[in-house]
Amino acid sequence: MMNDLLAQFNKAFESKARLSIMSVLMVNDSLSFNALKELLGLTDGNLATHLRALEELNYVSVQKQFVGRKPNTTYSATPAGQQAFTDHLNALEAFIKNL
């Protein structure tokens, strides 16, 4: 029983940073790199690595555009990412309830 529940935990969200990124993207349509950095208190490199991992899983989509001459990259959660995040939270909840 316990192991069944644990199996539903999403490996992608084992890192707290990735879980945090997903949780703020769940309540915001899209956020810029800097906004994410400020909210989560991560370093540039760290945040970029985690974002790339989530992007490769197709949980996060990236929009690149220019504001004037400055490049502005924004990130948003994809439907697949939202589903994965919800499933993961449900599994967490079920796990805690079962103790």
Binding site: K16, A17, L19, S20, S23, V24, M26, V27, N28, L31, A35, E38, L39, L40, G41, L42, L89, L92, E93, F95, I96, L99
Partner: protein, 224 residues
């Protein structure tokens, strides 16, 4: 057992992050207090100038008894004071909120503050235009409750994007505005209560609830 504690903590952190990223939580209680003090000063200025008792400033009956010239000076004076109050209250309110955001190490101009501002601006601008129309039709006694009602509606709308506590302030302002329509003689008093007393009370409550014991580095659990 230790693992479950860890998971619980993760859930708490997620919740805090979701709230922090979608709400503007740098609004300072001191902003409310300063805006309230400015409003009280404004109400006092009107009271001193019109030299009437607190309860009958610019009621419908009283306004009828003025001749045209007096009426215009009085209306101009009241509107001027109201504008000064608005500008000073906004300036002082912004100052304390910017200060709080700096102490939290957050930027003031971000997505959540923009959302909050927009939620406030739409009902407030509507109310502003509506009150100008009331002034144009020489219905200044109705403009007093109208400012309270529209301000309350703006707060109610904005409360979704900041501290939930703003909602109760909103209901108080709306209720007071409606009450003040029933008692048009008490205009200045209800106005002073709505923009002065309520702001000061709310601001102090918020300050003691959220800010008093907070150290300078306020990043709560949830920072990674």
């Amino acid at each position: 057992m230790r693992e479950s504690h860890e998971h619980l903590q993760t859930l708490t952190e997620i919740r805090s992050l979701m709230e922090r990223s979608s709400k503007f939580l740098s609004l300072s209680g001191l902003s409310g207090v300063s805006a309230g003090l400015v409003a009280m000063a404004g109400a006092l200025a009107v009271y001193m100038r019109l030299r009437t008792n607190w309860f009958t400033v610019l009621s419908y009956d009283r306004q009828k008894s003025y001749d045209d010239a007096t009426n215009q000076t009085v209306v101009e004076f009241v509107v001027k004071v109201a504008l000064y109050v608005l500008v000073l209250a906004l300036l002082s309110g912004t100052y304390f909120t910017v200060r709080k955001a700096r102490r939290q190490g957050l930027r003031v101009w971000n997505k959540s503050s923009q959302r909050l501002l927009w939620a406030l601006v739409v009902p407030l601008a509507t109310g502003g235009v509506f009150c100008l129309a009331l002034l144009y039709y020489n219905l200044i006694w109705l403009a007093f409750p109208a400012t309270l009602i529209f301000y309350g509606l703006a707060l109610l709308n904005g409360s979704k994007y900041t501290f939930r506590d703003v909602e109760s302030l909103a209901y108080c302002e709306i209720g007071l505005g409606l009450l003040s329509i029933c008692f048009p003689g008490y205009n200045l008093l209800t106005w002073a209560i709505g923009f002065g007393v309520l702001h000061i009370g709310y601001g102090m409550a918020m300050y003691y609830k959220y800010e008093r014991n907070v150290t300078h580095d306020e990043r709560p659990a949830g920072s990674v």
